[in-house]
Symmetry: C2
Subunit: 414 residues, 2 copies
């Protein structure tokens, strides 16, 4: 199976030149080739360059896609989602539009625990049914790698059910799926008065079981007031690390607890949210290898404050952007729309948002050796957009500009 994209008006390679991710001014270097071409064999990129350097003999026995009017960029990597869920929370959305806050709704039994009730009542098959539709639509919008977290089960059986659903989707769908265990997403109602027992359940039973059966690659914790504090977070993550899981962290979403400093010290692959990160937190991350994953859609959807993306990039923190797709705080899986929000509300440039949704997002999932750029040897996850130049991706918003999505070398049909 050979596939060639030729006459590409603008080929955005996001070339990493062997780097795991980009920081500072590097984030604005997209490795653009005007009038470019990409050669793919089976699921791998075998050649990237200018049309004038391609000999037509190379195109023998090759399927050719003419991209004269198109822009080609790497498939989006959505490195933070909760896309396996049941039920929906449009009523909470309507309550917020009428003035209620996210925290008030959670206190009234809404929020995460609302979805937990629905997920516990759903079968694995039902969970997969909804997730499939979302995954399909994400591929249509150019996302080719997605991370999915558990965290709506909050007991042994239901967390396992979620992780098994995620694992099965990974085997059954063309989307590349990375699985994260987030048992520490909230305190389950039955442990409301004894959180430490729940933490012991996580560290002594859930994590060993999940690690042994390879049911998750990452372990994540919601480090926040009313959820898990710094000490509890470290206890859980240390236990996960010992069991062989890689680490992630939800931090500083609603208040500055110091999760960024903890993430830097534990060398987590990513620390996510950061709407309330402090100067110290930024400094700690700049000195670490941890990717700061920002979630513009959450601030937009909840009308909350935005993470200080500009200060972080200028300080040398590697920044990624993800959707956080979930029914409560961001009911959207549109990566281009997250780029628009980042440009209009976080002072990120269009170039930075592309690096943040491709190479740096792949690094947040420990996948930048395989995904996130169009370079020889990487997986052929490539998206063809019907736009005149890459800036249109964030600029012309509220429209799906994907002409074709190529996943592992296959031109997908929708």
């Amino acid at each position: 199976m050979k596939l060639a994209l030729i006459n590409i008006k603008q080929l955005v390679t996001v070339a990493s030149q062997g780097k795991r991710m980009k920081v500072g001014a590097e984030m604005r270097d997209l490795g653009i080739i005007e009038n470019g071409a990409v050669m793919i064999e089976n699921e791998t990129i075998t050649w990237v360059g200018r049309m004038e350097d391609l000999s037509m003999g190379d195109l023998n026995e090759t399927d050719v896609v003419d991209c004269t009017n198109y822009v080609v960029i790497p498939g989006f990597v959505d490195s933070h989602t909760h896309l396996v869920f049941a039920g929906s929370r449009e009523d909470e959305f309507a309550m917020r539009s009428a003035g209620a806050t996210y925290q008030e709704i959670a206190e009234r039994g809404g929020g995460i625990l609302n979805t937990v009730r629905r997920v516990r009542a759903a079968s694995k098959k039902e969970l997969k049914k909804f997730a499939r539709k979302y995954i399909h639509n994400m591929l249509k919008q150019g996302t080719t790698v997605v991370e999915i977290k558990s965290g709506y089960g909050l007991d042994m059986d239901n967390e396992i059910k979620m992780l098994e659903a995620i694992a099965e989707l990974g085997r059954e769908e063309v989307m590349t799926i990375v699985s994260t265990f987030l048992g520490a997403h909230a305190i389950p109602p039955e442990f409301k008065e004894n959180k430490s027992d729940y933490i012991r359940l996580i560290t002594n039973k859930m994590i060993p079981y999940i690690a042994q059966r390879n049911l998750a690659e990452f372990c994540d914790v919601f480090c926040e007031q009313g959820y898990f504090d710094l000490q509890e977070t470290e206890t859980i993550l240390s236990s996960a690390k010992q069991a062989g899981l890689a680490l992630k962290l939800h931090a500083e979403e609603l208040s500055p607890l110091g999760g960024s400093e903890l993430a830097a010290r534990l060398n987590t692959f990513s620390v996510d949210h950061l709407e309330h990160i402090t100067e110290n937190g930024i400094k700690a991350l700049a000195e670490s290898q941890t990717v700061a994953t920002l979630l513009p859609g959450v601030s937009f959807f909840l009308n909350h404050q935005y993470a200080p993306a500009r200060a972080m990039i200028d300080a040398g923190v590697p920044v990624a952007i993800a959707t956080d797709f979930n029914p409560g705080s961001c009911m959207s899986y549109s990566m281009p729309l997250m780029m628009t929000i980042a440009c209009t509300h976080m002072k990120m440039t269009p170039e930075e948002t592309i690096t943040a949704t491709t190479l740096n997002a792949a690094a947040a999932l420990n996948r930048s050796h395989e995904y996130g750029s169009i370079e020889v040897g990487k997986k052929a996850d490539v998206v063809i957009f019907d736009i005149p130049n890459y800036k249109f991706l964030p600029y012309h918003f509220g429209e799906n500009h994907v002409y074709r999505t190529i996943k592992h070398g296959v031109l997908l049909e929708f």
Copy 2:
């Protein structure tokens, strides 16, 4: 030609019961029928009601669409756009993401005058080519009536070229198009030092020519500091009224000049923008028949302050929502996304945003006798959405949920 939509899970009629538009609490009454049906003959709605009241004999010789899993609402009316233009302004978007303000960019020769240069250099055919693509995509997203303004020509020949392009698109496309003359969109460079001469050109030459040839239905003015002040605005609108044009007004976008009070006094069909409207302005509008057309996408795209929608609705002002689709201040024609922004940033409820994008928007165009609700006798502009209930329209954002668009009784194919 007979068409029936049957078994509609949720039929949102926005029934007006003969009213031109809805105000206050009426805006939250969507006239919902669960398990409903709609009958259409040629381009007109002939029956609306509950499935149980429909006799199956009524379906003889009728094309039937089963809407068991779908929500049906009136086609969106986008009552404020500048969708005929040439060139694009993604570079200004990138400059803003790097910190420049909209006003600074305009002072450096960007902004409206940037597009004026490109429109003057374009042929009518070129203008129509780009517009056609946008119109097609709008229908795909559920918009069935659109207003388009001139205002990027700013001289006799080029304003006429724009209005002729709009008129021809209206005849050639299935979209219903309403045309507005906006010669007073900015001061053209050649009149920079003598604005009053340009105003005389508008009132003495452009308006009579345009009115005589029916090239526009409305006349609009950009009433703003550095553009046209209150007195100049009134001069132009009075001249338009005398020539038989209906009136609209851009007001209080960047500063509170008092355009709302002027609009109320002149009884314009709409007054648009209103990001900086005062309490007095709200009071004047509440006592008038003028529709306040809010443009959430502009505040979002420019990161400017939002119009006080909540205060306006609570005061009894009829509120509409439009996209303001244009290359500088809102590069989007997505009505559902505008609804999301209105819910998350303007404290409008999902119900209010539906009334504001249908019936009240039709009233802003003097078209609510024909469009904006699903009622017997109205034009059959009806959209079928693949969502479980109407709240999903603003809630699940960044996705096109349209299953089928019906325009004047015809099921469109894309």
